[in-house]
Structures are given as C-alpha cells and as structure tokens.
C-alpha cells in the first residue's frame, strides 16, 4: 500500500517538467537577475589594487595613509592600542586587544574595497583604490 502511494506520488512529480512553471515574464526576470548579480560582482568585488588605507576609530576617520610607505600605526581604541601594519601595498591588523582576534586573522589586505573591522575596539580599516570617490565613504 505504501509502495503504491509512493509510486503514484513519483508519477505525479514527473507529470510536469520544471520548465512548465516558467512564464515568459519569469524567464525575463530571471535573466535580468542573473545579469544584475554579475554586475554587482563586477562593481563591488574589484580586483583593483588599493593605493590608500583609511583607518577609522569609532565613528570618525582616524587617519588615511598611502600603502606605498612602510608604517606601523598605533590606534588608541576603547580597549587599548590596536597596531596596524602597512607595507608593500598591503595593510593588516597586527595586534589587537580584543577577544575574538577576527580582525588580526583577516591578515594582509591589498585590494580596493577590502575592509577589516574590529567591533570590540571600534577600529576599522578600509582599502581605497584610485577610482573610488571620497564622498561615497562618508555616511
């Protein structure tokens, strides 16, 4: 009895192909969606190398440095000093007084638009490319 039911169920599943559920508008929207997602990847996941790093402390911009010059920055956060290294076009959290150490584990960042955030100490860094307009960063 069980088997019979299962067979009937499977038959019912097969009776309509998945394509039968798509109306012309659905296909159109799906195509637009796929293109849109590709565009988003292109737009937001740039592979452009960054030229500057912007460091934020709480809700203020703490400093902006060029990535070309080697530097060690000490940022006085809520919990203590966060140490940020800049060298060879890259930047990283080298030391942080926070619990999770997520920011430190992000290691070296080098592409424009990449960012590392340390929420406990309220310090963040974002890499800026040549093309990125300054204004869009302010919220």
């Amino acid at each position: 009895m069980r088997m019979l039911n299962l067979q009937r169920y499977l038959k019912r599943l097969q009776c309509k192909r998945i394509s039968a559920y798509f109306l012309p508008g659905d296909v159109m929207l799906l195509a637009i969606g796929v293109l849109g997602v590709f565009y988003l990847f292109q737009l937001l996941w740039s592979t452009e190398h960054a030229t500057k790093v912007q460091i934020r402390l709480a809700d203020k911009i703490y400093a902006t440095y060029s990535l070309k010059l080697q530097r060690e920055v000490h940022v006085p956060g809520k919990l203590g000093d966060t140490v940020i290294n800049i060298a060879n076009g890259k930047a990283r959290f080298a030391q942080s007084p926070c619990q999770g150490q997520y920011c430190v584990h992000q290691a070296w960042l080098s592409l424009a638009g990449q960012a590392a955030i340390c929420l406990p100490n309220q310090v963040s860094l974002e890499l800026l490319g040549e093309n990125k307009p300054y204004d869009s960063l302010n919220y």
């Binding site: 019912r12 309509k16 998945i18 559920y21 798509f22 109306l23 012309p24 508008g25 659905d26 929207l29 799906l30 969606g33 796929v34 849109g36 997602v37 988003l40 990847f41 937001l44 996941w45 934020r56 809700d59 638009g113 990449q114 960012a115 590392a116 955030i117 929420l119 963040s124 974002e126 869009s136 960063l137 919220y139």
Partner: protein, 173 residues
C-alpha cells in the same frame, strides 16, 4: 464569572494554520547550519507566497508578520538584532509582493514574485545592517554574495510554490 470569548472567523483559522506551517519551516531552518552566516533558504516564504495566491494580500501580511513574531519568541530572539533583521526583511518583501501582485498574471507567475520578494528581503536586511548594526562601507563587499543567494533561493522557492499551486488546482478540478 463571565468568560470572554474572542469571536474567530474561518479566515482567522486559515491564517493561524498557515502561519503555524510557516513557523515550523522557520524553526527547521534555524537548526540547519549554513556555510555562510546569514544565508538561508527562506523556506517560510513558500508559505507566504502560497497564501498570496490562495487567500490574497491581507492574509499574506498576517501570516508573514505572525511568523516573524512567533518564531523570534520561540527562538528567544524577540527584540534582538536578529528579530529586527527578520522583521525588516519581511516588511520589505511584503511591500515588494504588494507591488508585484498587480503584474499581469499571464506573464508573471510565482517564480517572479518569489525572486522579487527574496531581493526585497535581503535589501531590507542589508539596509538595516548598514544603517544600524555595522555602519561601514565594507558591508558593500557582502552584497554580491547575498544577491546570489537571493536569486538562487528565490528561484527555488518560486518553483516549489508554483508546484504547490498547480497541485492544488489539479485537486480541485
């Protein structure tokens, strides 16, 4: 002693039943681990969409909002950021459905509505994250990942809903 009894209609019972199914799906989803935090299939939206087709927009809004409140109470997330995210997603996707239900039925089916609702859902959540939880431009980096998930799961849920509706129609004929 006087016992006050709340008068309920058949419609109320339908809404309660459907909301219960949506809550159950939400619970199932809550225990499935996700490879990327925040990316979930949104199975409860299948119910939302099904209700829109079978009972109209008002019932949909009820089911969706009831689901958000009841699920957050059950999971112990009421009034937490998770709850706020869930609510903002639900409200925005309801808004999208409200607009999209006027699209010509001949051309646009449940798959369209599902994808639009999924995008609105993630749009509402990302907006809230950006404005309130993580006010930082770095959030933009995550948008493509979430958009891909919205498209994929929106499509999947749409196909499931289309199937449910066509099964129902077959049965009633």
């Amino acid at each position: 002693m006087k016992i006050t009894q709340i008068q309920t209609t058949v419609e109320d019972h339908h809404i309660a039943k459907l909301a219960a199914i949506a809550i159950a799906l939400h619970m199932v989803e809550a225990v499935i681990p996700s490879p990327i935090p925040g990316v979930k299939p949104g199975l409860a939206n299948i119910v939302t969409l099904y209700v829109l087709y079978e009972y109209g927009f008002a019932a949909t809004a009820w089911v969706s909002i009831l689901r958000v409140f009841a699920s957050s109470l059950l999971l112990g997330q009421f009034l937490s950021p998770t709850f706020a995210l869930s609510l903002s997603g639900a409200v925005l996707s309801l808004a999208a459905l409200w607009l999209a239900q006027h699209l010509p039925k001949k051309w646009f089916g449940p798959i369209t509505l599902s994808i639009l609702a999924a995008f609105a859902h993630i749009g509402g959540q990302l907006l809230l994250v950006r404005l309130w939880l993580i006010p930082h431009a770095g959030v933009a980096y995550l948008i493509p990942v979430f958009a891909t998930a919205a498209l994929g799961f929106g499509l999947m849920n749409g196909i499931i809903t289309a199937k449910l509706i066509s099964n129902k129609q077959k049965k009633s004929v």
